[in-house]
Amino acid sequence: MPLVVALLSAPAAAAFGMLRPAGAAPVGAAFCALAFGATLWGFASGGGAVDVAWAPSWDLRLHLELDGLAALYALLATGVGFAVLVYSSRYLPLHLEHQDRPLSDGTSFYFFVLLFMGSMVGLAMAQDLILVFVFWDLTAIASYYLIGFDSHDPDSRASALMALLVTGVTAVLLLIGAVMLYAAHGTFSIPELAGRVEPGPLLTTAGLLIAVAGLAKSAQVPFHFWLPRAMAAPTPVSAYLHSAAMVAAGVLLLGRLYPLLQKSDVLLDVLLVVGSLSMAVGGVLALTRDVLKQLLAYSTVSQYGYVVVMYGLGGEYGAVGASFYVLVHALCKSALFLSAGTVTEATGSDRLSGLGGLYRSMPLLAVGSGVAAAGLAALPLTAGFFKDELFFAAALERGPVFAGLAVFGAALTFAYTWRFWGGIFLGTSDAEADRTSGVLVLPVVALGGLTLLGGIFVGPYLGLALAAGSDSLRAPADVVAAYHLDARPENLMALATYGLGVAIVLSRPLWSGAAGALSRLGERAGPERLYGMGLRGLNGLSDRAHRAEARDLRSRVAAILLPGGILAGAGILVTPTGGTYRVGTVEAGDIPLLLALVPVAVAALTTTFTKRHVTLALVLSSAGFVLALVYAFFGAPDVALVAVLVETVLTLLFLGTLRLIPYEVLHRQAGLPTEKRPRKVFFAAVAGASTFAVVWATLSRPAPERSVAEEHLKRTPEAHAGDAVTAILADFRGLDTLGEISVVALVLLAVLTLLRGGRLR
């Protein structure tokens, strides 16, 4: 039910947008709110499941279920989506205005945002690996269009392509992993798989493939490079895709498949390593960035690093903590992204170095995003405090090393969040802010308010995370989050984090050189460079192939014919053929057939030395007509009828085309001396000879089994038909005919386009 609403919203908004460009946003937002409400209501009333056979012969099921995990992500996608849509109803017109684009361009934006939302809800609810894959790719496609929304900008297009390639190519790994699991256990259904898999190399390999897909989508090291590039998108897109939706899809996959993944220690260790690396790399790089959205992008990399680490740590605290973390992070991060957009809109600057002291001119925004930042930095009284508490608890379960790592990571978060918020709103700067619309501020305040609310009444948030965590664990989870005013380890760790964070902020001159060097090293030798090299290499290859083709068209044809002929000939030579070639008998009834075949061959030969084009066309069509006669003698009246008709039309087409091309051009061709004639004759002879050998060999050896044709013939009356051929075409092998007419329709489309293109010129 929520899925239906969510999926419907995209076309609905698009339709309204086409009628009135301004109408798309309100309609989209309304649908968004409706989907949110439906999800909430559905989850509160105990969830629900749809499980229908989709293609039973392939074991595909349409299995959707609104469980805790699904509810968490669906609520995030629709809730944050609502805030973002409200925000963009004001932001997008401004954005388009800056670029001198018509307002109607915005419609496609809403369409793809809502399409994204719909597929995200679907992804959250999917319980079948193939279904997961379908929604997974839908999100990738929608994100491609959203990131490349400023399609006039090459940079934006390149970023969109990068995001699509990185997440799309790894999605294939997901499919491979799914098929491997299916091959071993005979089902795509995740709950069933969870009951069946055994730890072992198969699970490790398949799980690794699937995990790679999830990690790439969540922009984890070494796939993190696409996310900062994707910041080329308009700000609402960044806020939505890169805080709550697209990157969340990756960890959603991990959470969904956690029952499988947790059976393999290797996989958990991989998650731990990748997560910690992302945490560190993202955190350090976030400290070096000057562009607001870049800072936030690297912060997202590092934040999802936490989530991955928590899944890697495992246990109750890990699974519940991961879900809780995703929830809180999505709220805070989208608020921060949106405030970055508002600030840029108001001041025209998108860099930290050009900003400062804005709390005076934009107090409301400062408070709203301040709360969100506090949430991200895990200050008490915000929901963020509990996300770190759970994180610390999970790390403590595994030992002091992980606890230290956790404190270090959290301190990095504290530092760059402070840098972001403080850099914009505190201090003194001559940056001037225009007055901004309330619509650009309110969503930030609302999201900040939700963060604050979670810090005071953590119950509902934690309840959602508990439900999601128990779905990941396949066991009821029970974790308590509350304030404790004592010296328990978690509190001490939080205090250490704040201290270390302040230290990092204050000691900026000490480490900024080293961090900058790391960032430059990443650009020099990082995976992004590898990606660029791969892309350029492929492109160069295609260029070279194309150049070889364009330079020498005819020798390419010969290059296909000759090896083809030789291969066929070789195949015949090595096949034992003793006694298989039969000359066949000529009976009295075959005489007309023979007589008809002779003119066909003669006409075919004639075409090779006819000079004038009209004669050529006529000779060709006469060959066709006699061939129709041959078909008739073969006892195939249907084929003969169609052949005659087709030949008529084809002759018309040939003559019509000849009429279109001036006589002189054709005459020039007809008068050309035939060069390299012996070579061509040789090629043609080779082709003819090998065709002869193949055809003769085939015709000499009719298949000994009974033909399926007999069955067709027998069943023709059952299909209420008299003519077996028509029955085959329309009924027994109707799919062939469907394909055939699709070709015909496509050709019509192409012909009309080609001819009309010539006219418009």
Binding site: L660, L729, A730, D731, G734, L752
Partner: protein
């Protein structure tokens, strides 16, 4: 210009051609011929008009101007006929009535969905042939116009 005789013959031939086409179409299930050949026959009748009277006259025959659209309507109809058994829980391209069931007869005409499928092909092919040749004739006219001034 065409002679009066040609014009008269062309005019006279249109209706019989179309009737032949329809006959080929509806009898296709029991005798040679099917939607495809019927479509070609019908479009040949129209093309004859096009050659004798010119494009403008021919376009007065309903369906000629919209030939391209018609082709895609045919394709969609065929696809729809192929897919809708899915809704009833049958395989793609199941035809009704099923084997053994009684068929509604109207003379020798049988009402089965396979004939509808053929009709869709008829429409598609008619649109294809008329559309293609019509496009070429339009291109010829344009080329002539360009040369004339």
């Amino acid at each position: 210009m065409t002679s009066a005789m040609t014009r008269m013959v062309a005019r006279l031939l249109l209706l019989p051609t179309l009737i032949t086409a329809v006959a080929i179409l509806v009898k296709g299930y029991t005798q040679p011929g099917d939607g495809f050949s019927a479509g070609v026959v019908a479009s040949l009748g129209v093309l004859l008009q096009l050659m004798v009277f010119g494009r403008e006259e021919a376009e007065k025959i309903p369906g000629v101007r919209q030939a391209g659209t018609l082709a895609f309507v045919g394709l969609l109809a065929a696809l729809g006929l192929a897919v809708w058994p899915l809704l009833l829980g049958d395989a793609v391209l199941t035809h009704y009535p099923p084997p053994g069931a009684k068929v509604l007869h109207f003379g020798t005409l049988e009402f089965i969905t396979a004939v509808l499928f053929d009709c869709a092909i008829f429409v598609l092919v008619f649109g294809f042939v008329v559309g293609t040749v019509g496009a070429i004739s339009r291109a010829i006219e344009d080329a002539d116009e360009q040369e004339a001034p």
